[in-house]
């Protein structure tokens, strides 16, 4: 007879370090409530929010936390509590800043949203035209065109760079890796100036869409190359060796084994690269000329993009213009969010597959 073993839940007492005595529980609750209360009272007494936060809440929280820490786990508890309070305070401030950015973009951007904001362009629109007319349709098209163009050039280049870094034993690998990392900090305006110096100042072309696309390449390349490298590194060496041992030439081993295994990572690399450049402004301001009309040809004439559209409306005294700017910001944010979620889904599905395989 086969003996059936039914899994038994681990008894709670097996994790004694997770148990907190009742007094300590009360103390912990007190430690998180008291400072808030004191700060609230101080604010009701007429203290400014920032002052109440910094001069009342934080010190009181530190002192109370330290006292409770001392009571709960002795002398060391004091410094631990102080560390935790500070860490959470700083982390929370980052969170507040981020939420403030996203929230203000969504809130102010929604007021500009309407169907024609997506479908119309900027012809006959001045800074004070009411929001019922005009929109970012031309800029969305322009952004998509330019970004597509940059992507077409950058993705093979970036992935080939990653291949060089992971699949070969080339001599310049460390140099390339350092330069790629250094390029990721390339000031965007310098990238624009470079293309300007190369093509526009030398009279090869006027302000034109493809120059903008070119200026985005040095900004996108490091992201694509780095993320692609990471994902290729994750492919187990045994897979490659197996393919090579079976007699596959290196390129087929890469094409049929390594690349499919790293597919989701490579797609993530592309998506993150696009997210990196989709909101770039400075290089486009230097190399393209923002048109008001819709231009479907990035190889000829002025072309508008979302960032340059936003840039054009931002510093205005008219509320409508500023609202247009917020609207464009929201559109950029939505595009970035879509790319981001897609990248997340890609990496997520890979992990899920791995788990299922085990």
């Amino acid at each position: 007879m086969e003996k059936v073993i039914t899994p038994v839940a681990r008894p709670k007492t097996a994790e004694p370090w997770k148990q907190i005595s009742f007094t300590n529980m009360v103390l912990l609750v007190l430690a998180s409530v008291v400072p808030l209360g004191v700060a609230l009272i101080a604010m009701l007494a007429g203290l400014q929010f920032e002052l109440a936060l910094l001069l009342v809440f934080l010190p009181v929280q530190l002192v109370v936390g330290a006292l409770v820490g001392r009571r709960v786990s002795g002398k060391r508890g004091m410094s631990d509590a102080i560390l935790q309070v500070l860490v959470i305070f700083f982390a929370a401030s980052v969170f507040v800043l981020l939420v403030s950015v996203v929230w203000s973009v969504i809130q102010s951007g929604l007021s500009a949203m309407s169907w024609q904001f997506f479908s119309q362009n900027n012809v006959y629109i001045s800074q004070s035209t009411s929001l019922e007319y005009g929109g970012v349709g031309h800029a969305i098209i322009g952004t998509l065109l330019l970004v597509t163009l940059s992507t077409i050039v950058t993705v093979p280049l970036g992935i080939a760079t990653a291949v060089y870094l992971t699949e070969t034993r080339g001599k310049t690998r460390s140099v390339v890796r350092t330069l790629i990392q250094a390029l990721s900090g390339l000031p965007s305006v310098v990238a624009g100036l470079f293309i300007y110096a190369m093509f526009i100042a030398s009279g090869i072309t006027q302000y034109v869409g493809w120059a903008g696309s070119l200026s985005l390449i040095p900004l996108m390349l490091p992201t694509v190359a780095r993320v692609a490298e990471e994902s290729l590194l994750l492919v187990p060496q045994e897979l490659r060796n197996g393919a090579l041992a079976l007699g596959a030439p290196a390129w087929r081993a890469f094409w049929l084994v390594t690349m499919p295994a790293a597919k989701s990572g490579l797609i993530t690399a592309v998506l993150l690269g696009i997210a990196r450049i989709i909101g770039e402004t400075a290089p486009l301001v230097v190399t393209t000329f923002a048109a008001n009309g819709t231009n479907l040809n990035p190889f000829n004439g002025a072309i508008a993009t979302l960032p340059t559209y936003l840039y054009g409306f931002i510093n205005s005294n008219f509320d409508t213009a500023v609202q247009r700017a917020w609207g464009a910001a929201l559109v950029i944010l939505i595009l970035v969010a879509i790319l981001f979620i897609a990248a997340r889904v890609m990496t997520r599905s890979k992990k899920a597959k791995k788990k299922a395989g085990k």
């Binding site: 410094s79 980052v94 080939a160 310049t172 305006v189 310098v190 100036l193 110096a197 190359a225």
Partner: protein
């Protein structure tokens, strides 16, 4: 019999890893060419910018870096970027000072305090912050953040105004390096945080557990074990953030008043500088000679950020010996 025996020793076989088929050679050559294109790219950027900016360097001499006048009068053009250069450095210092505690805290929180779910959620948030385009942050900085931060600046001035840092003569707290420094901090927090998180999460767990088992608390583990082991990576991350801060263009352009007069440390005064933003603001209506001057600023900026970033990536790589 044995003296006659000469064993035919095969020539020692050399194992070669060189690709022998033509298609493989093409494959590897393509990869090598693509990878070396980044070297070519950096060289090209330097060459073209230096070439176009040569007239400016020639006519302005060393004063280009240290002087503090910008006069685009075509007959007697004076272009000197001293205040902008100092402004960039000043903003980066403010930004890094503000960003370092926040980013180390958030990395510590993700790796050592939060459980897995919350940790990965916060990681996504930090990555999202990294993906916010700088023009969006500029808009936010100009319209939402500046008034709030001006309030903070006024508070600082009212309470600590006796310190020379927080002096303010005209009661105008907008468009000051203080505010721009905050915006820069928001931009570089995700960079420093993600590098630090990477380093933290790859630290030897046994080291930390050993420390905890010996009775050290969170604080002493952090101070005596985590920080010393991770310091290299943190420094590298900070330098990467510094490089980004030096090159930040659009956001600063909106929230900072660019003035060609060196403002050494009055960070609440509406008087600051930034090389990148200066290029952006002057580019629109610049004539050819002035464009050469702006190109020269681009060269300076590029060289500085390239040095900072190369140093940073070198340190980050050195700090992760487990990655080859």
């Amino acid at each position: 019999m044995s003296e006659n025996e000469t064993k035919p020793v095969a020539e020692r076989r050399v194992l070669r890893a060189k690709p022998f088929s033509r298609s493989d050679r093409i494959f590897f050559k393509t990869a090598t060419a693509a990878a070396n294109s980044s070297i070519v790219l950096v060289t090209l950027i330097l060459v073209f910018l230096a070439w176009r900016s040569w007239p400016a360097f020639q006519s302005q001499g060393i004063g280009y870096i240290f002087g503090s006048t910008w006069d685009n009068n075509p007959e007697k053009m004076i272009m000197q970027i001293g205040p902008m250069l100092w402004g960039s450095i000043q903003l980066s210092i403010i930004g890094v000072l503000l960003a370092v505690p926040m980013s180390i805290s958030i990395a510590y929180f993700i790796v050592f305090m939060a459980n897995k779910k919350i940790g990965s959620g916060v990681t996504i948030l930090v990555d999202l912050l990294a993906a916010l385009p700088s023009v969006v942050l500029g808009l936010w900085g100009l319209i939402v953040f500046s008034p709030v931060a001006a309030g903070w600046a006024k508070l600082l001035h009212d309470t600590l105004g006796f310190l020379p840092f927080f002096a303010n003569e005209d009661g105008n707290f907008l468009r000051s390096p203080f505010i721009a420094g905050w915006v820069v901090a928001v931009m570089i927090v995700p960079i420093i945080a993600s590098v630090t998180r990477e380093i933290f999460s790859q630290l030897d767990r046994e080291l930390i557990n050993a420390s905890l088992a010996l009775g050290a608390g969170r604080w002493s583990t952090f101070r005596r074990v985590i920080l010393p082991t991770a310091s290299g990576g943190i420094v590298g991350g900070v330098l990467l953030g510094l490089g980004r801060a030096l090159g930040e263009t659009v956001a600063i352009y909106f929230v900072l008043n660019l003035v060609f007069e060196v403002n050494w440390f009055n960070i609440l005064q509406a008087k600051g500088g930034s090389v990148a933003s200066m290029i952006m603001s002057k580019f629109g209506e610049a004539g050819p000679a002035e464009v050469a001057g702006l190109m020269a600023a681009g060269v300076v900026l590029f060289v500085v950020t390239l040095l900072v970033n190369s140093l940073a990536s070198y340190i980050v790589v050195k700090a992760q010996p487990w990655r080859k």
